[in-house]
Symmetry: C2
Subunit: 464 residues, 2 copies
Amino acid sequence: MELVTISDIFNKKTSTSKVVEIKAWVKNKRDSKIGISFIDIYDGSCFKHIQVIANNKLKNYTKDILKLNSGCSIYVRGTIQQSTNSQFEIYAQSLQIIGNVFNPETYPISPKPHTLEYLRNFTHLRPRTNIIGAITRIRHFVSQEIHKFLSNHGFFWIATPLITSLNTEGSGEMFCVSTLNFEKIQKNIKNQVNYKKDFFGKKTFLTVSGQLHLESYACALSKVYTFGPTFRAENSNTTRHLAEFWMIEVEAAFLSLKNIMNLAYEILKSIFKRVLKTCIDDLNFLAKKTNIDLINRMKNFISSELFSIEYTDAVKIINNSSGYFKSSFIWGEDFSSEHEKYLSDIYYKKPIMIKNYPKETKAFYMRLNQDKKTVASADILLPGIGEIIGGSEREDRLQKLNLRLKEKNLNPDNYRWYQDLRMYGTVPHSGFGLGLERLLSYITGLKNVKDLIPFPRTPKNASF
Amino acid sequence: MELVTISDIFNKKTSTSKVVEIKAWVKNKRDSKIGISFIDIYDGSCFKHIQVIANNKLKNYTKDILKLNSGCSIYVRGTIQQSTNSQFEIYAQSLQIIGNVFNPETYPISPKPHTLEYLRNFTHLRPRTNIIGAITRIRHFVSQEIHKFLSNHGFFWIATPLITSLNTEGSGEMFCVSTLNFEKIQKNIKNQVNYKKDFFGKKTFLTVSGQLHLESYACALSKVYTFGPTFRAENSNTTRHLAEFWMIEVEAAFLSLKNIMNLAYEILKSIFKRVLKTCIDDLNFLAKKTNIDLINRMKNFISSELFSIEYTDAVKIINNSSGYFKSSFIWGEDFSSEHEKYLSDIYYKKPIMIKNYPKETKAFYMRLNQDKKTVASADILLPGIGEIIGGSEREDRLQKLNLRLKEKNLNPDNYRWYQDLRMYGTVPHSGFGLGLERLLSYITGLKNVKDLIPFPRTPKNASF
């Protein structure tokens, strides 16, 4: 006897003649008056369900099958038949209940459609829905493609540390990690918290970026990436922010800004190709649900070429928008998401890259351009999403790096090891970061990143 | 002109006739009296170095090339020649210095061999050494194979949360995550810390395992895994412990303990095959360094079959060890690492699996066996390493789960969502966990896990 999955059946990894076993959950059931039940089952292996046809000749038909509820787990033996419309059915020879649903009337995942807001209250059960199942499979294949693409291009995966004593971006919005007894914090003679008593003997945080650590490996193995969780203790409850999210960061020695951003664009294309190939049913479902033509949006991206404009030119476009913005935009400021939206959604109506931002708007580690006003940085914006990738050439000149640290009011002493990378055989190098959940937002058409990560962490919410 | 890597040259992705460009770092240099310099360079793309031959006809020979130090980054144009012993050489037509080494005498990574202890003081520079380079490449391909194997076997990757309000194992050794101001902790009217003021509105920790979260996805998508960082605030400074380490956790609905442990064994075989194929130079170097026959150890494993014994029989073997242990072992206790070592290194001299441990020694979520004394659990032990994989069937019966929670003095109210998985269509399911760094210890022969993760976090150490 062969235990098969629904994916096996649809991918014809099993033949339609023989008896198979399948274990799955009931999605829906319809009982005909003539003593036949049509049971729609899913096992998560693919988007598709399969229908089990069970008739009243089965000895537990009345006792079990007629009482089956949505959510029950069952074990079916039967033969697979291909029905006319490229669908399959299983004719049950036996059907046993594995796990019942206690109190079906209170089971949160009834077969009727639920809103995404409602489902967020049941993050432990929502993977049982079509929509979260679809997202999960897409998320999986996106992640697989990232690892595969980068490995095939000679990049090595580096596990940059999550716990760090360094504040990478110079921002204050970090979580503290501690084993101190908060009920009774010990102070030193200066009446300050005695971090010597803490686990690491100093104040430590959850990382906001693995980039600086990644650079130390890029300056030895040339091509590296990190793909892991990242944290921001930002008190913003928007559809675009998570306190814990996943980020891909890529770093390469000897590559220029142009090289690295072209690579970033190629990764996106490669990811879109993979999901179009492996998750087409999930995508079709989501396209219908969101009313966005997800398939063609990705196909158009795949056949597009990276289109880039200078920050300075983007400023001109914004200031020529004839009344779209209330106030004029001053060179040197950072674009708001409204400005980005105007540029990519309204003016260009396509993915764009903006490059060479004023140094004031960007982090200390970006390489100063010859004009001494801008840095070799670039953001890729997608219509409907905004910034999805941010990259830059890194400042590889020790003196200039130290000047930039001072300009940003950062203490160069805290960056001794980072400076060492410039002291000893420095090389031009570039990198970019790509937020996984924002990318998934583009692919799936769903607006809220809380639906795109299994267990979202947001202000006042670490449930489940 | 073609920019190539050392890996490209050895994998013959470039031809030996034409002029190529290469960018790399100097490992070593030897200047002959007749005006020829032999410069050994590396770029991290593979274990191998390549020799650049530069002669005094190059116009910057005296000014630059004679002054080159270990660690300098250089840009070479030249022709590739295959030398007799399947080695390659580059005849330089031009050689430029990209980045010098300031103060070569203080550069911590001189070409002479360094101890691993010494290198731990320079985790930002140690990837430039042969040994950490080798480990990094092996770590990469191990990780790639894990993702690939599991995806090919129908498992979906789930990002289980790092920040959690749940104490999975019921252990106290967790890090707190907080944005409270430690200098001035606010108390409530009961004089307790007011966690309502904290970022998540309650006390939160860094996860010690993603298993419980993973189970919620296994009970919907059938086959899932997580591969991410895990934390233990254990104050033990040994060669086997890290405060932050990477773990693979696999969870599958409808699979028994036997099924899942067979799968675990197959993953190990598949990983060993991959590293033997892709990292043979790195492995040969490490085998020489550690004096362990790493290659044949893995080859033997690949041709072996999972050998398993009952816990109860393992106790008998230990008690028949005729004086190897001072005191006799009492059934119901947990094995120490010395006991495990005796069983796998001395008695069986091969990888073994011990199964069906007393329920007192294992976590609440493991399925109670019919004897009501043991649980359906299993550990795989490797000679020289000890436990590398721990797995179990999970308690899928609600009532028995609640009894086990009480036995372990855990409050069932804290596990409401976990209980829901048993309330609604429960299914038998099993899973296992595999620590990445311990696996790397077996593959590389290196004893200290601090050398097997890029930036180790241990008590009193979160440097870099």
